[in-house]
Amino acid sequence: MSLAAAARPALAADPALRPVISFHGVGKTYPNGTEALHDINLSIFQQDFVFLVGASGAGKSSLVRLLIREEVSTSGRIFVDGQELSRMARRRLPRLRRKFGIVFQDYKLLPRSTVAQNVAFALQVTKPGQRHLREKVEESLWIVGLEDKVHKFPDELSGGEQQRVAIARALVHRPPIFVADEPTGNLDPDTSWGIVQLLLQINHRGTTVVMATHNREVVDLVRRRVVAIEGGRIVRDEAQGQYLREGDATLVSGGNR
């Protein structure tokens, strides 16, 4: 069991506060023989904010892909909201994916659609006939601070603004879990900090946030739970602000949320 999970046995015993995400002995080996993950054990609770850190190729993205069932684990079991992913039928995947808001490093926006259309797209394809579509889109864009860019196209926006559109799209259907895979990977430090602030704000509203990053500065500044992955294994799982700098014997203590 991870350190973070062990730190709150009383919560884990309460069925209402079971982990929303849990990995039990999970491994992933790709068809070409590359072992991306090995014996991953991890529990993430409701309203947690978890950083997945590690160098490029450490296995962060593989873990994210397993979490959203873009890939299937080769061993172990993964649970999301009580449902086991490896046994889940393909036809049930859409329902699982609707529990997530997902953003990527490359934004994945539709280049020929406006900001509003990009955000509305997520609702149109998951909940056709949704009432108050415009209001929901406007609210999402207001949260990310782009309410004045509704008619712009992605190529008219900066990298940071494009990532905000991707966040608004991920938020618009109010998912309980928010997954961000290197959301600041293409952004300068100031813009990155703005994006992280936004994710903290989303977490503050009650959403569980899992963010994969190799941006050490951001992780140091925010001081939330950090799961460090190296060579496909979890090498460290530090709860809430206790993050050991690599190559540094000093434990950096942080305050609780």
Binding site: P94, R98, L110, A122
Partner: protein, 301 residues
Amino acid sequence: MITLLATLRFTLVSAVQNFWRNLAVSLAATCTMGAILLFIGGILLGTHMLNQMLTAEQAKASNIKIYLEDGVSLGSIANLQSELRADPRVSAVHFENKDDAAKEASSQVENFSESLKVLGSNPLPASLNLDLHRLADLPAIDTMARRNAIVQRGNLATDYNPAIIDKLQTLITWAWRFAVGFLIVFGTLSVVIIMISIRTAVLVRRREVEIMKLVGATDWFVRGPFILEGVIGGVIAAAISGTVIAAAYKPAVDHLRSTLFFFPLSYDGSYLAVVALLLFAAGIGLGAFGSYLGVRRFLTV
């Protein structure tokens, strides 16, 4: 109900929007499909004309003369005639007496009348002339006729010539095999070419499919607009190829009639309508099936 209507609306709007936004790729796929449908339509009309020619040739060849012994009673001839009329393989029976035979021979052979005068009597036999429904029934009718007592013996029994009929039948069989083989080969080739062009059209929009899957769209929701877009392309392709075929059919028949005047070719409007319907069905089917296969590989996200 609202959800269903909204889904249909989204599917329709997305399909039209995608077709328009990716006009170059969509038109390339549509033109490929149109060219192939045009080709298939041409083959269908070509085989129909071939069928008209072969049917006429079969009708011409599907008859047999049964030569009767001289001096047999009219009663026994009438009995054989009735027996043959009752046979389902026979479409018509006509009695030709010796004088009719002589008249016909005179019209076909020069100086025949003079030859008859020299002989002093008419050596030609009376006959029962039969028209059959099928060329393939000729051997059986010939065998049956030879067993009858009032029919002449040996080589003089009938005018059935197995060598010629067999050749004609072999020609017809091979002509049909060739036409069907041609349709199968080009039909298969068409599906493959159409699938590749539609797959290219889908490939351009793989990001959109990826996003739809990641936000939780169902497989059918993703497929819907692509399949409808394929159907739109198929209908446009069928309309273009159908129009070209309809416009070219009559001039083609007229031209062939003047060139191959010995074959009874005719313009068949009802068959043209069937071909048009088939083209629309093929366009819709190929467009939908090609899109279904084209989008399938991107749904594994």
